[in-house]
């Protein structure tokens, strides 16, 4: 694997399969009396969050701690640190503290990329969500969840599986990372959204697109509903929340058109009644809670694979990739 995880595109097929297989082993840890492994003892993982995301932060924190790493949480939201130029100063501080990995969430697309490639820090950088760009560990945990349910936990298990990703693709870093990763894993991805919520140039992505949810659902092996923020209404992306739900929401009636084995996913947080109804979210098909559990295992796998081969911070060779 590369030294950083900035985009799902950083992962080759072998890399991605390795993360899944490693996460599968990590997940079994949850059944043991001592839920801790010594692999990253003495290493420091910094959670650098310029945006609030308690769920993601906790997931990374649990993952790092279960691997015995020291964890420093650095919440920069709301302070003077959320300003642009401070990304560099913050990075220099972390470097001085000897961080081995920086897990960064930032409102600006590409901020983790800057952190990794500007020469400010020598740590591994893990993108925990940047602007409307990517969220690769979310994609990995989504893929892992599908792989457990649809792929028999086998290498190549997602080959040819049909995945529908529905909702605000334009503003979704989850959709971007998922489209890239699932394609890498051999799945066939269809992005479903009103035309206003699909990015320009999407024809060049390795995915199918559709404006018609009802035609896509019966063929899908997994349906991932994306959160749609009501604010988008004011940008004129769709007329009303009601119209959105009617055309692109997943309700019990639509769920009935799914194949028996099809699972329903959501990266959270859900807007119940908007993109997904409560009966669907709480149904047997829903693996939404499992996604959260899997998040810790997948992030353990990522931290382990990124860090265990490296020398500790401070003794690392400059510029290796």
């Amino acid at each position: 694997m590369k030294r950083h995880l900035l985009s799902a595109a950083d992962l080759t097929r072998d890399d991605a399969e390795l993360v899944l297989a490693t996460a599968d082993e990590m997940r079994s840890l949850a059944d043991r009396p001592i839920k801790k492994l010594p692999a990253l003892r003495g290493r420091t993982v910094v959670n650098l969050f310029f945006e609030d995301s308690t769920r993601t932060r906790i997931s990374f924190e649990a993952a790092a701690k279960r691997l015995s790493a020291d964890v420093i949480n650095f919440a920069a939201k709301g302070s003077s640190l959320s300003k642009g130029e401070s990304l560099k100063d913050t990075a220099l501080t972390l470097e001085a503290m000897g961080a081995d990995a920086v897990v960064v969430r930032h409102g600006s697309s590409g901020a983790p990329h800057r952190l990794a490639h500007s020469g400010w820090v020598r740590s591994s950088v893990v993108n925990a969500g940047d602007g409307t760009h990517e969220h690769p560990t979310q994609a990995l945990l989504d893929a892992f969840t599908m792989w457990k349910h649809l792929g028999g936990s086998r290498p190549g298990g997602l080959e040819g599986r049909k995945i529908a990703i529905v909702g605000d693709v334009l503003h979704s870093r989850v959709a971007r990372s998922n489209a890239l990763l699932l394609r890498t894993l051999g799945a066939e991805v269809t992005l479903v959204a009103p035309p206003t919520l699909l990015p320009v140039g999407i024809e060049g992505w390795p995915v199918e697109t559709s404006y018609d949810l009802d035609s896509v659902l019966p063929k899908a092996d997994a349906v991932m509903m994306l959160r749609v923020q009501r604010e988008r209404m004011h940008g004129g992306f769709f007329p009303t929340a009601r119209e959105y739900s009617r055309r692109y929401g997943l309700d019990g009636k639509r769920m009935a058109t799914l194949q028996d084995h099809t699972i329903v996913m959501h990266p959270g947080p859900m807007v119940r009644g908007m993109e997904i109804t409560a009966d669907v979210a709480d149904s047997d098909r829903s693996v939404i809670v499992e996604q959260v559990t899997n998040g810790v295992a997948v992030r353990m796998a990522v931290l382990y694979l990124l860090l265990s081969g490296n020398e500790p911070a401070g003794s690392m060779v400059e510029g290796e990739e």
Partner: protein, 434 residues
């Protein structure tokens, strides 16, 4: 009395080698016997210009000198030094300073600072609207009548998006033969825009700046210009569609001129994938198709001129994440090299074509009588000597600008300005400030 220069074996506009005698601020003689005239050999400096091309002093219609207000980024002094090193003898200083150049007082201050610096002539551009706010016209007439003799008006950085205001501005400047230089950017279509809108912006998660936001304004302004019979200049044309619209307007005989920036002739939006904001500029870097269309438009005269949009920014405004970074790049010291690489070395333009697009035409559009003159006997001695065979690797730290935001750092570019003469006085000699 100023020094007399005898420039030997120079290829004027790339033609056959000849000699040039610069004396008393004018081109005193041209030809093999030029050295026989004027001052005796002991009192003049001879320059062996074998292999060098002589061009009329370059004129930039689009420079940001940042003074007053952002003297940490650039001053008139530092910016005009960079201009001289790039072969320019005249630059138009954009109005988006602090305070904005929207009164006779500010434009006269900039004009005076330019004269005091003495590296090249500075022609202030006046703001179209008060404070660039796009709400009401600035005192365009007062600026035109001031010592700075402003003829070019622009809200550059902001688009005069209000159609009525744009119409009034175009009408009003007819009284003093002014021109409105429009930064064509439909504001609603570019809210939060970060880079060219296309497949890549979608992938990178950076809000797109669609070509149509530029083209729609250019089309509207061409129609307005035709309707009121005024003069429009389109700043930094960046898209293939814009080139087509300007070409159509010219075909109809409308009084529209347009400029392209060196970076839009060379660089593409692929560079945004680095997330390095050194490549962040407004209008953004576009696709290779757009680059090719701009080159073709510049070659066939649809695009009249090359203008640098030299936009200095302090280090901290670029040493950050993309969205937080300022728009703009340095351009004065590299413009001629980029034009050589993209237009001359590709066979699209000869040196006479370069002189037209980087000197004569910008001077005509800006109504600058003293610059953009042919290299002929009796003309002002505004001349640049350029070595097209040289190659140099750009080092950001070597710029005369106070800022370092060149997108070409580390690149090898062709050509080198050897000497620049402003009214017969050398501002640059041996590639260094004289």
């Amino acid at each position: 009395m100023s020094t007399t220069y005898l420039i030997k074996n120079v290829a004027v506009l790339g033609g056959a080698p000849t000699d040039l005698l610069l004396q008393d601020g004018v081109i005193a003689d041209i030809g093999p016997e030029a050295g026989d005239r004027g001052a005796s050999a002991g009192e003049r400096v001879e320059i062996d210009a074998s292999g060098l091309v002589a061009l009329p002093g370059l004129v930039d219609l689009h420079t940001h000198l940042r003074e007053p207000g952002r003297e940490d980024a650039e001053t008139v002094e530092s910016g005009t030094r960079a201009a001289a090193l790039g072969g320019f003898t005249a630059v138009h200083a954009m109005a988006n300073t602090e305070p904005v150049a929207d009164t006779a007082g500010v434009v006269e201050q900039v004009w005076r600072l330019g004269r005091e610096a003495g590296h090249c002539d500075v022609y202030p551009v006046g703001a179209v609207t008060v404070g660039l706010a796009g709400e009401r016209l600035a005192e365009l007439g007062a600026m035109a009548d001031s010592a700075a003799r402003v003829r070019v008006f622009s809200d550059d950085g902001q688009c005069v998006s209000d159609a009525v205001l744009m119409r009034r501005a175009l009408e009003y400047v007819k009284a003093f033969d002014g021109v409105i230089a429009q930064h064509a950017q439909e504001p609603r279509l570019t809210e939060g825009a970060q880079m060219n809108e296309g497949e890549l912006s979608g992938r990178l998660g950076l809000t797109g700046w669609p070509a149509v936001a530029e083209e729609a304004i250019i089309a509207r302004d061409c129609l307005l210009t035709a309707h009121v019979g005024s003069r429009l200049h389109v700043c930094h044309v960046s898209t293939a569609g814009s080139v087509d619209i300007v070409r159509d307007a010219k075909r109809k005989g409308w009084n529209v001129t347009a400029e392209a920036c060196p970076h839009h002739l060379l660089l593409t939006d692929e560079l945004a994938a680095t997330y390095d904001p050194i490549y962040k500029v407004n209008p953004p870097l576009r696709s290779q198709t757009d680059v090719d269309a701009l080159r073709a438009g510049l070659a066939d005269g649809t695009i009249d001129i090359v203008a640098t949009d030299h936009a200095p920014h302090p280090h901290e405004d670029k040493d950050c994440e993309w969205a937080a970074a300022a728009n703009g790049m340095l351009g004065l010291e590299t413009a001629l090299s980029i034009v050589q690489q993209t237009m001359v070395d590709t066979g699209l333009l000869d040196w006479a074509g370069v002189a037209e697009r980087m000197s004569y035409a910008p001077a005509r559009i800006g109504r600058v009588a003293e610059h953009g003159r042919p290299i002929e006997q009796g003309e002002p001695a505004n001349v640049v000597l350029y070595d097209p065979a040289a190659r140099r690797t750009i080092e950001a730290s070597e710029s005369a600008s106070l800022s370092r935001n060149t997108p070409y750092a580390g690149r090898e570019l062709p050509g080198r300005v050897v000497a620049t003469f402003l009214r017969g006085k050398a501002t640059v000699l041996d590639g260094k400030l004289a």
